[in-house]
Amino acid sequence: MCNSFIQVEVIIPTQTKYLKLIGSIGEHLAKELEDFSGDREALAYQLNLVLTEATTNAIQHGHYNNPKDTVRISIHIQEHEINIKVYDHGQGFNLETVALPDLEQPQEGGLGIFFIRTLMDSVTYTRQGEGNVLEIIKNLDMRPIVENHFDYR
């Protein structure tokens, strides 16, 4: 099966009890990836973590008081990358001003974006319509495609 056909879309209420579901989708997708030559268990944990952190952010930045508010998560696996988009309906924040944590003086909080930045290859957060989208890209190490070469001599 070709990985380029995998696209998962999930819409959840802004409740943290759904974090396990979202994280486990990432974990399962990593374990099912075909032709992936990297550390599959590590990738599974990373996707679980990044999806959990991104969804937590979206829930916390969303309209807590509105029980009908939702977070949409889109996971698209293309040939050599995983593209994750997490949509929230909140005020948004400036990703560029989120400081890196001082690991020598550990504090509670502030590690979520650090994990996403450290473990993934690209992160952007932009205003889109009435909400915001956090877009995360992870490049995948895939096995080279071995083609059949026929010798006609």
């Binding site: 974090l19 994280g23 944990y45 679980n48 550990p106 509670e108 450290t118």
Partner: protein
Amino acid sequence: MNLNLEKLNGYSVLFIKEERIDAHNSGELKEAILRMIEEGEINIILQLERVRFIDSSGLGALLSGYKNAVAKSGKFALACCKPQVLSMFELTRLNRVFEIYADLNEAFENES
């Protein structure tokens, strides 16, 4: 959150009976540890054998427990961590902050 507190060898050993510590249950864990410390149980070992996933809020809850126990001249150690959880401590360098032991016996021997 499914937690089990046992008194063993003079320590308050908190067994975390969950596979995940994330933003859904980390607040409850943090509160449980703080309550223990307020009640004078300042020598704490967290038994993390069941935990196979921890996120930033979970690490925050552990750090809060550590800081509050140490502030009262207590001890705060971790035991039976799975490799995935240890990797998270390494990524955040919290392995330099927490006392981490392979099992409870090792924790009892070294912390006494």
